[in-house]
Amino acid sequence: MNRCEAVSERMPAVASGRGEWSPAELEHLAGCGDCTAEWELVSAASVLGRTIAVDPRTLTPRLLERVRVARREDRQRRWVARSAQVAGLAIAAVLLLTIVPRRRDVAPIPTSPGVATTEVAGLQLAELDGAAPSELETVLAEFDEPTLPGSSLDGPDVEGLDMSQVERALRSWEES
C-alpha cells in the first residue's frame, strides 16, 4: 500500500471524528493534489445532509404501530390461506368418498387391458348356470387334474428306460 492509498484508507475515520491525521499524513496531504481533492470530497460527504432532522420520539411510535398492524394482517392472511387449504382438502375428501363408490357400481375396472372381465366370465360360465353342484365339482376336478400322466411338451420320460427300450421307442416314432 503506497502513501496515497494509506491516507485514503484513513479518510472516513478522520472525517467522522473517529481518528486524527498524524503529522506525516498532514504533510502528505499538503503536498498531494489527488489526496487533497479526495479529502475535500470525503469531508464534504461526511457532513452532507447533517441538517436533516429526524425525531425518533415521534418516528418510533408511528413505526411500531405500522409493524403491529402489518403483523396482524400477516396473521389474518396466513389464517385465511390455511383455512382455504383445509376446506379444499375436506371438499376433495367428500368428493372422493361419494364419487368413487358410484363409479365401482357402474363399471368395474378391467383386469387386463382391452378385455372386459364381465364378458369373459359371462361367455365361459353361461352354460354352467343350470348345472347341478355335483356337475360343477366334476368340471372343477377336470380343471385341477394334470393332463395325461407323462405327457408333456418335452415328450415321454425316458429316464427309466434301458438302451433297447429307447431304441424301440425311437423306431416307433420314426415309423409313425
Binding site: 445532509g49 436533516i52 418516528l59 413505526l63
Partner: protein
C-alpha cells in the same frame, strides 16, 4: 425491556435479537441509533428534503419486517442503507417521469458568515448533483464509505459484492466526483 448501561451499550446484534423476541424497546433504540444516518443517506442519494421523513419511516418499516434476515455479516447501518437505497429506487420507478430528486432544496447551513454559508451551500449542492450522476452502485459505495464510515468488508456484505469490487467502485466514484465537483 432492553437493559443498557452507560459504559456498555448493547450491540446492534443484541438489539436485533431482543426485537425478534418481542422487545419494542430494542426497536426504539435501533431507531435512535440509525434513523439519522438513514435520513442523511437518503438525502445524499437524491431524496427531497420534504420526503426524507416518510422515506426513513418506510425504510425502517421494511427493515423491521425482515430483521430476521439480517445475519450480521454486514453492519446493521450498511444493511439499513441498502434497504433505503432499494426504497429510493422503487420510488423512482413508481414516479417515473416525475422529479424525485430535488437537488434544489434549500440548504440550512448554520454559519455566522453569509459568504461562508453561501459557499458551503454551493459546495453541498454541487456534491449532491455530482452524486446523482453516478451509477447507483458507485454512489451507494461512496456514501457508505465516506459518509457512514463503513469498511469495504461491511459494504460488500450489504451490497452483495466483494470487498475488492467495493474498493474499485469507491475509487471510480471518487475519480468521477473530482471531475464533477472540483
Amino acid at each position: 425491556m432492553v437493559a443498557m448501561t452507560e459504559s456498555e451499550p448493547l450491540s446492534d446484534a443484541s438489539l436485533a435479537a431482543a426485537w425478534r423476541a418481542g422487545d419494542e424497546g430494542a426497536a426504539a433504540e435501533i431507531v435512535r441509533r440509525h434513523a439519522g444516518a438513514v435520513a442523511r443517506f437518503l438525502y445524499s442519494s437524491g431524496a427531497g428534503r420534504s420526503d426524507v421523513d416518510d422515506l426513513v419511516q418506510e425504510a425502517l418499516f421494511r427493515a423491521f419486517r425482515k430483521l430476521d434476515t439480517w445475519r450480521g455479516e454486514a453492519s446493521l447501518r450498511s444493511w439499513l442503507c441498502r434497504i433505503a437505497g432499494n426504497l429510493l429506487k422503487d420510488e423512482y420507478r413508481k414516479q417515473r417521469g416525475r422529479q424525485v430528486v430535488s437537488i434544489d432544496d434549500d440548504q440550512v447551513v448554520d454559519t455566522a458568515d453569509p459568504h461562508e454559508e453561501a459557499a458551503a451551500r454551493e459546495s453541498e449542492a454541487r456534491l449532491r448533483a455530482g452524486l446523482q450522476t453516478l451509477p447507483r452502485l458507485q454512489r451507494e459505495v461512496f456514501l457508505m464509505r465516506a459518509q457512514q464510515g463503513c469498511e469495504y468488508r461491511e459494504i460488500a456484505a450489504a451490497l452483495g459484492t466483494t470487498p475488492g469490487a467495493a474498493r474499485v467502485h469507491y475509487h471510480h466514484a471518487v475519480k468521477r466526483l473530482k471531475e464533477l465537483v472540483s
